[in-house]
């Protein structure tokens, strides 16, 4: 009797230990990144771990991280923002429209001559994004539509608007291509460009806002217990407005990133991006139930996602078709959610 009891206790403590070692999401993600690096280095027959590949991974990461950060704030409140991808399309298209149709410029304006216009594109994209965010907040606060449906509606509307404004074609405008080219310092090739650096800075600032400021605290409080938050004298509607406008604004900046990357505002710039943003957030350890998430986890989770995306393309020992890639990414998301569930039961 007592022996079998001890056995059970022994097994339990082993299980608890395993679970505990998984309980730090960020540590787990770093380990995952290392493992992925080794696996891809072997399966690509030694061409994965190069500055070039890292530059590609970080460039892709930059396309999505702002959307993942946007989604993080929204999901922590217990909501979701499906409109971020369409906002990327619309904001890049409107920026392109202003430069091409409004100012009559084209892609022959390049280099530092184009920099003021690129900054204008950033500003226009940001304004478009903030507007979409304000519309989402209106639908959620005033019309009392649940975030999933409200942002699904704006997603469709904004994607449609992007096609109408652009005529379905990319608007090729002025661009300073150097902004997207990785730095070369004293002959040493770095994997980071100006745009990637800008995105890293924005991500760090958003991390500080989320974890160190009143705005971040109220975001967590709202997702944790909206009644208690209101009872503490905080207006949930105001907080929701700020969070969805932040999300829209970040999606607008991601639209500017897409414009600089392509030198064009295209209605297909952001299509499907919302799903990757949600996937990145889930891999990064944000609970879709609200109230839980860390920015370091989001940055690392997004990096894991795009390391897998890039790495699978370079695998040489077997051919990974795009369809198989989709399946593998899906499995990754399932694994991330399974680990989260394990962590939860580990804590109890």
């Amino acid at each position: 009797m007592s022996n079998s009891k001890q056995d059970t206790a022994g097994k339990l403590s082993l299980l608890t230990q395993v679970k505990a070692s998984f309980s730090n999401q960020s540590a787990l993600l770093v380990v995952t990144l290392v493992v992925l690096g080794v696996v891809f280095q072997i399966t690509s027959q030694g061409i994965f771990l190069t500055t070039n590949t890292l530059g590609t991974v970080l460039n892709d990461w930059g396309s999505y991280i702002l959307l993942a950060v946007a989604q993080t704030f929204v999901v922590i409140t217990g909501g979701i923002d499906l409109s971020v991808g369409a906002t990327v399309s619309l904001s890049s298209v409107v920026a392109g429209w202003v430069l091409v149709r409004g100012l009559g410029l084209d892609s022959t304006t390049t280099g530092s001559d184009a920099t003021p216009y690129v900054l204008l594109a950033v500003f226009v994209s940001l304004m478009v994004g903030l507007t979409v965010g304000a519309i989402n907040a209106f639908l959620i606060n005033v019309l009392r539509i649940v975030p999933f449906i409200a942002t699904l509606a704006t997603m469709g509307a904004m994607a449609g608007l992007a096609i109408i404004i652009s005529g379905g074609m990319p608007l090729q405008g002025p661009n300073n291509w150097e902004l997207g080219i990785p730095y070369n310092v004293f002959g040493i090739q770095l994997p980071i460009s100006t745009t990637v650096l800008a995105v890293i800075i924005i991500t760090v600032i958003c991390g500080l806002v989320l974890h160190k400021t009143k705005f971040g605290l109220h975001t967590f409080a709202l997702g944790s217990n909206s009644f208690a938050t209101r009872a503490a004298g905080i207006s949930p509607a105001k907080q929701i407005t700020k969070v969805y406008m932040l999300s829209g604004g970040l999606a607008g900046l991601a639209g500017a990133y897409a414009y600089i990357r392509l030198g064009a505002g295209s209605p297909s710039n952001g299509s499907g991006m919302e799903l990757y943003a949600i996937a990145a957030v889930v891999i990064g350890g944000v609970s879709l139930m609200g109230g839980v998430g860390r920015m370091v986890g989001i940055a690392l989770g997004t990096l894991v996602l795009f390391t897998v995306q890039s790495g699978l393309l370079m695998v040489k020992v077997v051919t990974v078709s795009p369809s198989l890639k989709q399946v593998i990414v899906a499995l990754l998301i399932v694994a991330a959610v399974a680990v989260q569930t394990l962590q939860k039961s580990g804590r109890k």
Binding site: L208, S224, N225, A228, A231, A232, G233
Partner: protein
């Protein structure tokens, strides 16, 4: 009661669709007085609490704080006027730490530019939360732990401590002894007596009638949204109180 009336509600009514939750309830609370608010489930206690705390707007009736008419359109206005409320089972954000909960909506900021930008003085709030809760006199855990890691009793202690430490005029406690053992319940009753001694008006809602009889000056009985009796505690016995709550007392069956 020689003390002045600190908080008053007149003829409050509140409907949820076809359900009448409050039907012309009136209540006077004096400074330094503890009122027990009792009634069966569905009698309208929690609705009255939410109307008094500003969480819900009444459909009819008036509210007076120190003789001045007030219309609360959100809980913030009531909080700023000095009315603190402990809600039954829903007062804390469980993903936040103890000190974050204590200071939620009343955060302190670091000095200088970063403070203006909204950066929080985490350490300062943790220390002050610790002090405030200790001063209230309820056993509680360290103030930097997330509420989700606390037991039901510890959570309740934090919620009570928060309400008591912030209250300036009126303290409303909805089932504060829920989830608490005998010793902790006794601590809560002591806290209520201290609040009374400080000159606060206290409204104490509870199903545990011995607690209500032990600590209150007056007991108000709600039934089906109406106040059916409002008398000094000394005029009730345990039996007559139960009878009044259930509505059997007037029939004198036993």
């Amino acid at each position: 009661m020689a003390q002045k009336v600190i908080y008053e509600i007149r003829n409050a009514s509140k409907n949820y669709g076809a359900v009448v939750a409050l039907d012309g309830a009136s209540l006077k609370l004096h400074a330094g007085e503890v009122i027990g608010l009792v009634g069966d489930n569905g009698a309208g206690k929690s609705t009255l609490v939410k109307v008094l705390s500003g969480a819900h707007s009444p459909d009819g009736g008036e509210i007076f704080l120190e003789g001045e008419e007030k219309v609360w359109s959100n809980p913030k206005q009531a909080l700023e006027a000095g009315i603190e409320t402990l809600y039954q089972d829903s007062g804390l954000a469980q993903h936040l730490t103890v000190s974050q909960n204590v200071f939620l909506g009343r955060e302190k900021f670091v000095k200088g530019v970063f403070g203006k930008l909204g950066f929080l003085a985490k350490k300062q709030m943790e220390e002050e939360a610790q002090k405030d809760l200790e001063a209230v006199g309820i056993a509680f855990p360290s103030s930097n732990r997330p509420v989700s890691q606390l037991s039901g009793g510890q959570r309740q202690a934090v919620a009570i401590g928060r309400a008591v430490s912030w209250a300036r005029k009126v303290l409303i406690l909805d089932e504060p002894t829920n989830h608490l053992g005998a010793r902790q319940s006794a601590e809560v009753l002591e806290v209520i007596k201290k609040a009374k001694a400080k000159g606060l008006g206290v409204i104490f809602i509870s199903h545990t009638l011995p607690h209500v009889l032990a600590v209150t000056d007056r007991i108000v009985v709600l039934r089906l949204g109406q106040i059916v009796r409002d008398s000094p505690t000394s005029e009730y016995t345990a039996d007559s109180l139960i009878g009044t709550i259930t509505g059997s007392y007037s029939k004198e069956e036993k």
